[in-house]
């Protein structure tokens, strides 16, 4: 149990007064970010990232990851009180959360959501504590072919496990890879796809893309629904909290199952959003009161929230252990690691023990702090949405512009941000998934590097990816996942009898 000792050292780091303050600040900022439309976990962190360069890396990542927990909590507030999912993964929470709030049970729904989130995240952190060092130890023996296989598997997961059209997922992903390749090729020094433009030599920074794709596009799509928010009143007092807590142990089975779904979907980069929908669907199907889902059942709040937080948290596992993030937000945190001069991947557990365990300890503490902050401060955060949209929208646009500029002090990046905003608005409305695009943009260079190094070793023989049993089996799993929709489609062609009501390739 070497982990326990290291974890205790991590707690010692995270419990320093400065870091506790940063945790409180991070969680409060995070909830704020989660509540406001247009500012989510991914782009909120992307905007604040350049401001953390002056801090020691441990403190910086503690604050940023606490922003992440806060944003996860904050999404639930707007879903339940305003029927506006602040984050995509809290869409499923609106199904039963908003009806509960309409019936005057807002306090109960919020308490259930926060507690469920806490439980989901906690289970995922425990899993991460014991699994991440194992995975990292394993990955220490990885060479370029195995790393390429892991990344291939991550991207294949989007195609095989994603909810939407596999072709659109594929197109979004390839767009991300192409954008990543723009600029100087680090191996040969040649300029790629700049088409003579000097601004393109720097390439596309994914932080700028994230701010546009998730921030600006969100403002554009939320304005479609009009200029005002209409919400329910929130009041949480201790009595409601205790009553809800007394009731919650009855739903332990749902919570555990949702946490398991969440952990699985988080580690494979399918992400928090499908996890929340899947666990809501399964809870409804297995419940004795399945018909009443959607009318304000507390299980309908517990299931998606537990899964979303478990997924959001476990998405950090592959990020830390392999350097392959499981979600856009984890990708932004990974970008932060690189900027602070830390090399993400298995060596992190060897060379930066203090950093890794400080971060893991802060996940435990950050969730406790988060739960307390949201339970106490819900009415204030809900009041923010009563500020007129015209003010909020203008301020968010300004904040996004500042965030895009500070990434690399380039005015052209603000233009790019706006362009990505329009692209994101169109792609999102057409159901092109944005997560694979962002992940491909982040991992593009490293995927290509692993690919080229492997081929260099084997003198161009693609067989090298299958030369070891480990790399080979990961590749085989990836190919199977990537081909999964294709198989489903062929199957439906071969059986035209069932073709009238053929299931959509999942």
């Amino acid at each position: 149990m070497e982990e326990i000792g290291l974890l205790m050292q991590g707690f010692a780091v995270a419990l320093q007064p400065d870091n506790i303050l940063l945790m409180l600040l991070g969680v409060s900022l995070g909830v704020l970010i989660g509540v406001l439309p247009g500012l989510g976990g991914a782009n909120g962190i992307a905007i604040l990232l350049p401001l953390t360069f002056a801090m020691p890396p441990v403190s910086a990542i503690i604050m940023l990851s606490c922003i992440y927990w806060g944003a996860l909590f904050g999404g639930a507030i707007t879903s339940i009180l305003f029927n506006i999912p602040g984050e995509p993964w809290s869409v499923a929470t609106t199904f039963d959360g908003y009806p509960m709030a309409q019936q005057g049970r807002a306090g109960e729904a919020l308490t259930a959501a926060f507690t469920a989130s806490f439980v989901g995240a906690f289970i995922a952190v425990v899993l991460l504590t014991f699994l991440a060092p194992l995975v990292a130890g394993f990955a220490l023996q990885f060479g370029p072919p195995q790393f390429f296989a892991v990344m291939f598997l991550s991207f294949a997961c989007f195609i095989g496990l994603g909810r939407g059209s596999p072709l659109k997922t594929l197109a979004a992903m390839m767009l991300g890879f192409l954008l990543a390749a723009v600029g100087m090729d680090t191996v040969t020094g040649q300029l790629r796809m700049t088409f003579g433009s000097t601004e393109m030599i720097r390439g596309f920074d994914f932080l700028v893309a994230v701010i546009g794709l998730f921030g600006i596009s969100e403002i554009l799509s939320s304005i479609e629904d009009g200029l005002s928010f209409k919400g329910q009143k929130a009041k949480i007092d201790l009595k409601v909290v205790l009553r809800t807590w007394a009731e919650m142990p009855r739903h332990w089975a749902i919570a555990l199952r949702s946490a398991a779904i969440g952990c699985w979907m988080g580690i494979t980069p399918a992400g928090a959003t499908p996890a929340s929908f899947m666990s809501y669907g399964i809870a409804r199907r297995t419940s004795r009161h399945g018909d009443e889902f959607g009318t304000g059942r507390i299980e309908g709040v517990i299931a998606p929230e537990t899964a979303a937080h478990a997924a959001g948290t476990s998405a950090l596992l592959p990020m830390l252990a392999l350097g392959v993030p499981g979600s856009p937000t984890a990708a932004v945190l990974l970008g932060g690691l690189i900027m602070w001069g830390l090399q993400p991947g298995p060596m992190l557990f060897v060379e930066q023990k203090e950093f890794v365990w400080g971060l893991i300890a802060s996940m435990y503490l950050g969730n406790v702090v988060g739960l307390l902050v949201v339970l106490v401060a819900v009415p204030w955060f809900a009041a923010i949405l009563r500020v007129p949209f015209s003010i909020i929208a203008a301020l968010i646009l300004v904040v996004c512009a500042i965030g895009a500029f500070t990434v690399s002090n380039a005015e052209f990046d603000i233009v790019l941000m706006l362009a990505f905003g329009v692209v994101g608005y169109v792609l999102k409305k057409l159901d092109y998934p944005l997560a694979p695009l962002v992940l491909a943009l982040v991992l593009g260079d490293r995927t290509e590097e692993a690919f080229r190094q492997s081929l260099l070793v084997s003198q161009g023989d693609l067989g090298i990816f299958f030369s070891t049993w480990l790399g080979g089996s990961i590749m085989a799993a990836g190919i199977a996942l990537a081909a999964w929709p294709l198989l489903g489609w062929l199957w439906s062609l071969l059986r035209p009898a069932a073709g009238r009501e053929r299931p959509k390739p999942a």
């Binding site: 002056a54 390839m174 191996v187 479609e224 512009a401 500029f405 169109v426």
Partner: protein, 173 residues
């Protein structure tokens, strides 16, 4: 989201989803083709340092072209069906979106000339007066406050220099 705001007696009119689907698929096809074309210039074969610079982007571009042509075909097929008749955005919605997008585009275009602070103040004032219906002096005060707070936070606390224009130069920054 758009489904929520549809309603009323007359069917809402606007930009059809199929058209945007087709346009998007064609643009992505074009991007993929451009990447393949540029990769051919760089070399897509085997060089001194292993695979040449164009090798990886060439295949990525090829997959993008293939996937986008697939999406194009699917969109064409859906054109006559009920699913293809949906609206991407209704005209009133588009007007709202443009009422945010156009000022933002002007804002972004103005930053290199006026600096970020002045442009941000004007953006806040414009949004509050045009979209929020605030009185001019409330809006003006809020705009000035935004610029001032941003200046103190970034320029003074975090020591991050943001783009500045003639007014800041005149003030001695």
């Amino acid at each position: 989201m758009s489904a929520l705001t549809e309603g009323g007696d007359a069917p809402p009119r606007g930009v059809r989803t199929v058209g945007v689907e087709i346009a998007t698929a064609l643009v992505l096809t074009g991007l993929g083709a451009a990447a393949m074309w540029d990769s051919r210039r760089l070399g897509i074969g085997w060089g001194a340092e292993g695979p040449q610079s164009g090798y990886f982007p060439f295949w990525i571009g090829l997959v993008l072209v293939a996937a986008s042509l697939g999406n194009f075909a699917l969109a064409l097929r859906a054109r006559g069906t009920a699913k293809g008749g949906g609206l991407f955005v209704t005209w009133p919605q588009l007007r709202l979106v443009l009422s945010v997008l156009l000022p933002t585009a002007l804002y972004v275009a103005a930053i290199p000339f006026t600096g970020l602070y002045v442009a941000s103040a004007v953006l806040v004032v414009w949004f509050m007066m045009r979209l929020g219906g605030f009185r001019w002096w409330v809006a003006l005060a809020s705009g000035a406050a935004t610029a001032l707070v941003a200046f103190v936070v970034f320029e003074q606390w975090f020591l991050v220099a943001l783009p500045k224009g003639p007014i800041e130069t005149w003030l001695g920054y």
